[in-house]
Symmetry: C2
Subunit: 420 residues, 2 copies
Amino acid sequence: MKKLKIGICGWGNVATGLYKTLEDNRIQIESNSNTQIDIVVIGARRDNPKCDPKNITIERDIFDVLNHDIDVLVELIGGVEVARELILKSVNKGINVVTANKAVLFHHGDEIFEKANLNNVKVLFESSVCAGTPIIKLLTEELSANKVTKIAGMLNGTSNFILSNMEEGSDFKPTLELAQKEGYAEPDPTFDIEGLDAAHKIGILSSLAFGTPLPPNDFYIEGISNIKKIDFKYAKEMGYTVKHLAVTKLNEDQIELRAHPVLIKINSYLANLKSVRNGIEVETDLLGTLHIAGSGAGQESTASGVISDLVHLANSNDNFSEKNSKSKNKLINFLSLSFQYYFYIEAEDVPGVMALITSQFAKKKIGIESIVQKENLKNNMVPIVIITDLFVEKDHKDLLQTLKKLDSVDAVRSIRIELD
Amino acid sequence: MKKLKIGICGWGNVATGLYKTLEDNRIQIESNSNTQIDIVVIGARRDNPKCDPKNITIERDIFDVLNHDIDVLVELIGGVEVARELILKSVNKGINVVTANKAVLFHHGDEIFEKANLNNVKVLFESSVCAGTPIIKLLTEELSANKVTKIAGMLNGTSNFILSNMEEGSDFKPTLELAQKEGYAEPDPTFDIEGLDAAHKIGILSSLAFGTPLPPNDFYIEGISNIKKIDFKYAKEMGYTVKHLAVTKLNEDQIELRAHPVLIKINSYLANLKSVRNGIEVETDLLGTLHIAGSGAGQESTASGVISDLVHLANSNDNFSEKNSKSKNKLINFLSLSFQYYFYIEAEDVPGVMALITSQFAKKKIGIESIVQKENLKNNMVPIVIITDLFVEKDHKDLLQTLKKLDSVDAVRSIRIELD
């Protein structure tokens, strides 16, 4: 039986979940993996009333955890700057690190991996993307013969929960409140619903697949807070639904990186991932398209991912020195990408309004694939739904501004259409 | 860079695909995995006109491959008895084995793994189930903290191709011919369409998850050759579609193991895997339900799985000695399982026929959830579709026989309904 001595830093939900799982599932873990994992020390600034770790040394200064005889530091404190300092100290002392912290990897990943390689230690992070759903090991281990060409994922459970409920006919605000009540959304939901969480995760996946830097250069991030219930109805009439998608894609020798709402075909794989589920679609040269989906959050799922990292450390003799040495591919400027768009426009129901609106598209030489005038609203405004031909992103913002300035136009919004 | 010397036995499609992939993707594999894989020797009874391996020793007696200085034997000869002998010789010589051969593992897995453990060598087999789609490593590596409680999979690409086409309105026979034309089905398709291929695969997965023996004791295997196009129509009216499913499931402390066609909810994950795609659904204690899907066959996909095994061998220091030492859980007798059933019955359109048919169910105390008489057929027979309540499998065969013997009944068939 392999033996692994670990120190845990942080003593919140994730850490106590890990502690309980290691206790409760000890026999199972040892039988499955031939690995005995012993918690030697816990770094906790304060006690957690929900969990009393018996017979384990507690350090109130989390940095003191590194003074114990441990094989692995498990970093579960969250946040960015202190986590960075802790991980770098661990790495510099030659102690392996397992972390579930996507934010610290997004902002300081390159520095962390570079220092880890210098010190010949490993930093594993399965739980940082979609908790224990083994997306990281899929990319780093199982696909090693493959050239990955695209990853598209629904990486934020809160957004997917809200959009799935809106698809069934709920409004945004009560659904967000429900998500908060059920524990799927934070009291301040900004990070999830404005797309930042998904952006962190796709940044990490992009670094693994294509060697883009961590932190990446600026890329396009948009959340779901402007999506309305009616968009699902009109999308569905055309065979689409609305999802929040994060994409990294090899586009000749540059990388397309973006996270924003999209219309996707309603019968596609990702459209069928509902509620808080996370999932990714990976395109490769040898395996074709691969899908994996599972729970993207939660104490137990995160614990599962951390333990799979620990087992991996105990049983492997590789080092990840090559993993981050791929060419740092350049990001494509988002404004140079082309999309088809869904436009929702509320206009006054007066003669000539359709001509006025469509002429704005024509002036920019933007083709219209379909245009439908819907039933009048209560305020006698008329909704118009337009699907455009492909046009370049840099014309999109201008067009939106132009439409919004029209006297006879009230609301305007647009959603990109994700083609296969 | 890790170095691995391998010998390949067999020189058919899969082996030449592996050779080409190792040649063509060499830089990619080395960069992704930090592992250099060198083919030292090939065991080929005859040349393959499609592929000329340059500067590699060829042995005409495949057993002579084991006399070379190799770290791993890659067994790609297929078949059962010679493959068993080759693998056991390799293992006894202390040479690791990678195989894509599900049949030899199904029939002799326990013996092979026992001998491998005795000799402290590894036998890896990612490509034996769903080719390179990393289902085996998911179970053996990434889920090591989890207790798996159920695996349900669509494991045979040929069956799924045929059923997906029938769902779109094709008949069985022309679809099978199309599958043969496209290379998705063998000239003799028995192995695929009668469920044996899927049975081999679920037997292997069941051994990994629950320690059931290889070969397993008898379990229920049924193929898709009795499914008719009209079943999809009637299934769809009730929110179902027809798929071929292989299931292994912890049922108290016994194991449910089976492979047969089912009606499953049309909006479920597995219902949405179309064409030749393979996929599994894994239920676990920590991660909840996990899905993975990808291509289940093909030269390149299989090569990808073999290479992931080779990279794993080069980079791990574990051994699988514990993997097969799980309690050999006993299989549940299939006749003691209960299902809801779909029955399709063609009967003469005469007074009293409905009473006659339903009374057969009543006599066996089998409840009927719904019964619908459909539009008359051209021969004036009337199709009757019945969904039953749950009843035990042992009454099912009797009921089928009884119904078939009725003078006024022509065709009768039944499909089990897979509940969540």
